[in-house]
């Protein structure tokens, strides 16, 4: 899906990266913890999140994340908007929840990104993994 189509489907507003609206984004990942994004994603995909601090843009730079969608009507910090603009990363704001945003994008053909599964349980007493 093109970024501009994504914005339309989720009734979102593009606030940065307006010159990249014709780029295609095929995969998505949703998280509210940056370490989860860093730990789990194995390939570039857009990020659907409620995080509003500028660090999310740093993570996007490190991982080549092509698009950030900030859900549930959260307002990004000024620092986020400035960082995104400087980095040329598109950001879309939507009033929909992360759940609904993901549902809409999924049903329009967006795929989940490949992730690593962590079985790193240091404590033997917690044995929910085979």
């Amino acid at each position: 899906m093109k970024i501009k189509e994504i914005a339309e489907k989720i009734e979102g507003k593009v606030i940065t990266g307006e010159d990249r609206l014709d780029e295609v984004v095929e995969k998505g990942f949703a998280a509210d913890l940056l370490s989860d994004v860093l730990a789990l994603t194995e390939e570039s995909s857009c990020l659907i999140t409620g995080i509003t601090g500028p660090q999310v843009i740093r993570v996007a730079e490190v991982l080549n994340i092509p698009l950030i969608i900030i859900a549930r009507g959260k307002q990004p910090s000024k620092a986020l908007v400035e960082s995104a603009r400087a980095a040329g990363i598109p950001v879309i704001l939507t009033n929909k929840t992360v759940f609904e945003t993901c549902g809409i994008l999924y049903s329009n053909g967006m795929k989940p990104c490949k992730i690593k599964i962590f079985h790193g349980v240091a404590d033997e007493s917690s044995s929910f993994v085979d």
Partner: protein, 148 residues
């Protein structure tokens, strides 16, 4: 002997949330500009970001150093304190002492150490309560170089 190609050094200030992550993203750009392999850049970026964030959130400040060698990237993150009381516990996935305000910024997953380890070929941490923490990580640039 193969010689070091170049090194990048950044000072990381405590509680400096506004520029948090900027050292890591600059490192990423520099490595990319110098033609370092993409998967290596990604790993190094992740390791640096986690180390940088930890220094900002938990330490009194420190230095993030990246050395580029023909066969590997060496990362050194050193801070001046306060050190980690129980390192084994700190390394467990999910363990975090991040304050609630930091969670609003997306921190405190307790995945920093597991994440750094996962992306490193060599990973070790030295820490002394009252003194500081020193993280050393190596990422090899090709499979052939993994065994010296």
């Amino acid at each position: 002997m193969w010689e070091e190609k170049f090194r990048l050094v950044y000072r990381v200030k405590p509680m400096d949330l506004a520029s948090a992550g900027s050292a890591s993203s600059q490192i990423k750009v520099e490595l990319q500009r110098n033609g370092i392999e993409e998967d290596v850049v990604r790993k190094v970026g992740i390791i640096c970001f986690e180390a940088e964030m930890n220094m900002i959130l938990y330490s009194t400040g420190g230095k993030l150093k990246v050395e580029v060698w023909p066969d590997r990237i060496e990362i050194l993150a050193e801070d001046d304190g306060p050190g980690i009381e129980d390192l084994q516990k700190a390394m467990e996935p999910g363990y975090s002492t991040a304050p609630p305000w930091a969670q609003d910024y997306g921190f405190g997953a307790g995945m920093g150490f597991p994440n750094m380890k996962q992306n490193s070929d060599v990973f070790d941490v030295e820490t002394k309560p009252g003194e500081g923490t020193r993280i050393h990580s190596v990422v090899y640039r090709s499979k052939d170089n993994e065994t010296p």
